[in-house]
């Protein structure tokens, strides 16, 4: 199938700090937009489309456009949790292909660490505010976000015999990548990780249980951070400073708790095949998998749902260090992931940023000759209401 090459990521920036006291989310966004434009060789006035998840200020694209001082022709405030950026990248591709705009910016900023936001171990929804049809049925039970994902892991282990030792391979490979990424090493140092070093499956098994059966070293960190990326038309991409990274396929989906439903299958089972089908490539052609690693189980379920292995077989697929960049086959989360590099709350943008670095040859854990990457975001709660956003990326 001929791939449609109608929009490319031409500029990227990842905010280097994971603990940034005194800096606002908007500061992080503006710094990142400026740097991503510079990376592309573009300027402020070139921006004609703004995609925003409402992370900097309430109001999303409306307030961000006003703060930037721009009059964009396209404004998109898609907010579907951590996968918002995969959805937005797909929308930017579609809008550019339709001729609605030429230079789109996506940005993210968050100060979750400095603000001491208990994302994983607070209640699933804020204590204040009115009840709704879901919160009234869930809040009395004190389920945390981590417990929600733990429900999925428990069922996966029960149905398929998956073990923590097998899934620990995800943590092991990801930490290996993090130790090669100076920003990730600094993150773990600044956030006072107990050991800033490579880890083994045994370390994961011996780390304390936060919510059975999820251990601490299976859970992402909570950091500050952010970034930005510029998506542009082929005409703009031709003159950009760096080689273009083309968006060649996308899919979006949602899933939620259903009576009798299978909790071990995520929205990725819908968004993944849609993206691969559009791109005309199959999972076994992919070099780099950037999969949202809020927890090991998130990666595990999404790897299966995207078709990298059959349902129930991820334990064997991920065990040991098989997904490390220096092992044959698929390389996973080569930036160090949310487990060991950064997780300010919505990690989806970093999946795209590291995919681009790999396809440009700029990663700290570079896979030689990487040509195809998939960025798959999971937003919301894996064991409840969530989204899946899949983007397939290719170099020339």
């Amino acid at each position: 199938m001929a791939q449609e090459r109608s929009a490319a990521i031409v500029g990227i920036h990842e905010y280097p700090l994971r603990v940034a006291p005194g800096v606002s989310a908007m500061d992080i966004k503006i710094d990142s937009i400026r740097a991503a434009l510079d990376d592309a060789g573009l300027s402020w006035g070139d921006i004609d489309a703004v995609y925003d998840a409402g992370d900097g200020e309430a109001g999303g694209g409306l307030q961000l456009s006003a703060y930037l001082g721009l009059r964009p022709r396209v404004i998109d405030t898609t907010q579907v949790g951590g996968s918002s950026f995969e959805f937005q990248a797909a929308h930017a591709w579609r809008d550019i292909a339709a001729g609605r705009c030429r230079v789109a910016i996506l940005s993210y900023g968050s100060t979750s660490a400095s603000n001491r936001v208990a994302i994983g171990t607070g209640s699933m929804r804020a204590m204040g505010g009115a009840g709704n049809w879901q919160s009234n049925m869930e809040l009395p039970y004190g389920s945390t976000l981590i417990a929600n994902y733990a429900l999925v892991k428990q069922r996966h282990m029960h149905e398929y015999g998956t073990t923590t030792e097998q899934l620990a391979g995800i943590s092991v490979a990801t930490r290996r990548h993090a130790m090669r990424n100076p920003d990730a090493v600094r993150a773990m140092t600044d956030l006072e990780f107990v050991g800033v070093n490579e880890i083994t499956a045994q370390d994961v098994l011996e780390s304390r249980i936060v919510a059975d059966p999820l251990h601490l070293l299976e859970c992402c960190m909570i950091s500050d951070g952010g970034g930005a990326l510029v998506i542009a038309s082929p005409e703009v991409a031709r003159d950009a400073r760096k080689p273009p990274v083309w968006i060649i396929g996308s899919g979006e989906a949602t899933k939620y708790r259903e009576n009798g439903g299978d909790i071990t299958t995520s929205a990725g089972a819908q968004s993944g095949p849609a993206a691969f089908g559009q791109a005309g490539v199959s999972p076994d052609e992919i070099d780099i998998a950037m999969i949202y690693d809020s927890f090991t189980i998130t990666v595990a379920v999404c790897l299966e749902d995207l078709g990298f292995c059959a349902k129930g077989e991820v334990g064997e697929f991920a065990a040991g260090d098989r997904l490390a960049f220096d092992r044959p086959g698929l390389a996973l989360n080569t930036d160090g992931g949310g487990l060991s590099s950064n997780h300010p709350g919505m990690r989806g943008i970093f999946l795209l940023l590291e995919s681009v670095r790999q396809l440009r040859g700029e990663s700290h854990s570079q896979v030689p000759g990487a040509r195809l990457a998939v960025a798959h975001g999971n937003g919301g709660s894996l064991g409840g209401t969530h989204t899946g956003g899949t983007v397939i990326l290719a170099k020339d």
Partner: protein
Amino acid sequence: MPKRPQPRFPEPNSQPFWEGVREGELRYPTCDACSEVVFYPRLHCPFCGSRELSWKVSRGEGSVYTYSVVRQNRMPGFIELGAYSVAYIDLDEGFRMLSSVVGVDDPTRDIHIGQRVKVEFEPQEEGDYPIPVFRPI
């Protein structure tokens, strides 16, 4: 038992469920048009869009679909609770609800997937809604 967070009203979707709980009943709506079980309760049927629903009373028995034991929760009321369970319970009438399995010595050892359980209504403070939880049969 610490005070659990209460459902908040007005909230029309879940209000009949909680009024049922106050009367010692686990109620669930079904669709008059397509007969599907609607849960969590809503004011429409998510299968066909009908607004015509009828409330029924569950026998309150089901099995554990999956569970977790929470070791750390910073929310007031749960901080001091120690390890406690959260679970999806598949009721025999065909609906799945989030709840907690109680009445076991050690939730990390004594709860398992497929375990048969029955609802009970955990009293809260005076005037509060009781909370439906499940105990192994």
